[in-house]
């Protein structure tokens, strides 16, 4: 067996489940309620549902899905703007696949594509740079959404375009940062969480120390966790153990992947090309300095500066993704869930994204 496969070993999973239940019950006995944990990352949300761990722990631990899916937190107006971008003459729009079916106010990228717009799904932003090189007569725009895991790769694409001296490549930046949104959630105080399961992937770039503010300024503990069943469970166990012992700390339970100080090469590249910018989050208005935007000297690669896309205020819909992202409601509390809104006919991004909370509930947690 590959060493890493041990993290999904059935025997170990069963034992780990029992250990988490035991410690959660000890917490419950003392506090008279379940521990409330938020998993920040969308991939954790999916992994919890897919592995059945969330269902198994339903009566012992309250798990709340956080704002960690880049597709879901993109606000409606930005989605509308991206779809409208496809109308620019002689453009090729490039995007990650997850964005294609996200509904804007009136259309989706998928629909725009079937109407004849040149929209291409790429696996990497660097592919879109190659497309720009091959089509000097077209404007190639990459829809740059993502958190700290993805943003360094956007920077790499710009570095490449710069080296090739391309004048027809831009990125439409709607990037999001983890720290500002966690601060916003904690400051708003609408959702009560005892501790955070911190995102394994974003932490590859940020490192463990970037979460110290949680413990120092908010006295909330956190554990960086991996995505395999045993990793999800050990992360939870360590977090509840901290809570149970009234310790506030940030632990790295994904040491074989996440380093203490993250990836310095990636962070340096970020700071070469980007600076902090205000970003609008779905259901949360604009959070100051919660994203990265291109520095002025790289404005030629900035699609927002090159193309003048004006969008109307989006119309109101019954979709409650805004509250889902803030951890205030479960998908089942949305009247559209599994009725008007399904993965085949999604109303909001939380049902479309492969990391969306509504999609996770629909696929793995519905009662038939």
């Amino acid at each position: 067996m590959n060493k890493l496969d041990l993290f999904s070993d059935h025997h170990l999973v069963r034992q780990s489940l029992a250990a988490v239940i035991e410690i959660a019950e000890a917490f419950k006995l003392e506090k008279g309620r379940m521990p409330v944990l938020m998993e920040v990352c969308g991939s954790h949300t999916m992994a919890f549902a897919r592995s059945g761990i969330k269902q198994r722990l339903m009566d012992h631990v309250k798990l709340i899905a956080g704002p960690g899916c880049p597709v879901c937190v993109t606000d409606q107006k930005s989605i509308d703007a991206m779809i409208q971008l496809a109308d620019e003459p002689d453009t090729i729009l490039c995007t990650f696949g997850d964005m294609m079916r996200v509904p804007g106010s009136a259309s989706t990228l998928m629909k725009a594509k079937t109407e004849g717009k040149d929209i291409r799904v790429v696996y990497s932003p660097l592919e879109s740079v190659k497309i720009a090189q091959q089509h000097p007569d077209k404007e190639v725009i990459f829809l740059g959404i993502g958190f700290e895991t993805t943003i360094p790769i956007l920077a790499l694409a710009i570095r490449e375009a710069e080296k090739m001296e391309l004048h027809n490549f831009t990125i439409w930046m709607t990037t999001k940062l983890v720290e500002p949104v966690l601060r916003e959630l904690l400051d708003a105080g609408e959702v009560k969480v005892d501790g955070f399961l911190l995102p394994g992937h974003v932490s590859v770039v940020l490192g463990k120390t970037s979460y110290d503010f949680l413990m120092k300024e908010y006295q909330v503990p956190g554990v960086i966790s991996g995505f395999e069943p045993v990793q999800l469970l050990t992360g939870m166990y360590k977090l509840i153990d901290l809570l149970h012992n009234q310790k506030v700390d940030i632990l790295n339970d994904y040491t074989h992947v996440v380093k203490e100080h993250g990836n310095a090469v990636a962070r340096e590249l970020l700071h070469t090309y980007f600076e902090f910018g205000d970003e609008a989050w779905r259901g949360m208005n604009v959070i100051p300095k919660s994203g990265l935007v291109l520095k002025d000297q790289y404005a030629r690669f900035d699609a927002k500066k090159k193309f003048n896309v004006a969008v109307k205020e989006p119309r109101k819909v019954k979709c409650r993704c805004g509250e889902i992202i803030r951890g205030l409601i479960n998908p089942e509390e949305c009247v559209l869930f599994n009725k008007g809104c399904t993965p085949v006919h999604p109303i909001g991004p939380c049902m479309v994204s492969s990391e969306g909370t509504c999609a996770a509930h629909y696929q793995y947690m519905r009662e038939e």
Partner: protein, 71 residues
């Protein structure tokens, strides 16, 4: 849209590595992991190797956990 399974590094040239991801071979960028060497396992995101997986730490964390379970 995130990092998937670990890939094994088979060959390295400039800023690119040939990796094996569960039996299929492909080229990935190595800009973010300049310390990479042949035989390493890396985690990929959007065509880039983002971190080197430390197998030793992986074993240690499993052992540590087994000890907790045995307590």
């Amino acid at each position: 849209m995130c990092i998937g399974v670990p890939a094994k590094v088979l060959d390295i040239q400039n800023e690119e590595a040939l990796v094996d991801v569960m039996g299929s071979r492909m080229y990935v960028g190595t800009f973010f992991v300049p310390e990479i060497s042949i035989g390493d396992y890396v985690l990929l995101h959007a065509g880039q190797a983002m971190t080197i997986v430390n197998q030793l730490f992986a074993m240690e964390s499993i052992e540590e956990w087994r000890n907790i379970l045995r307590e």
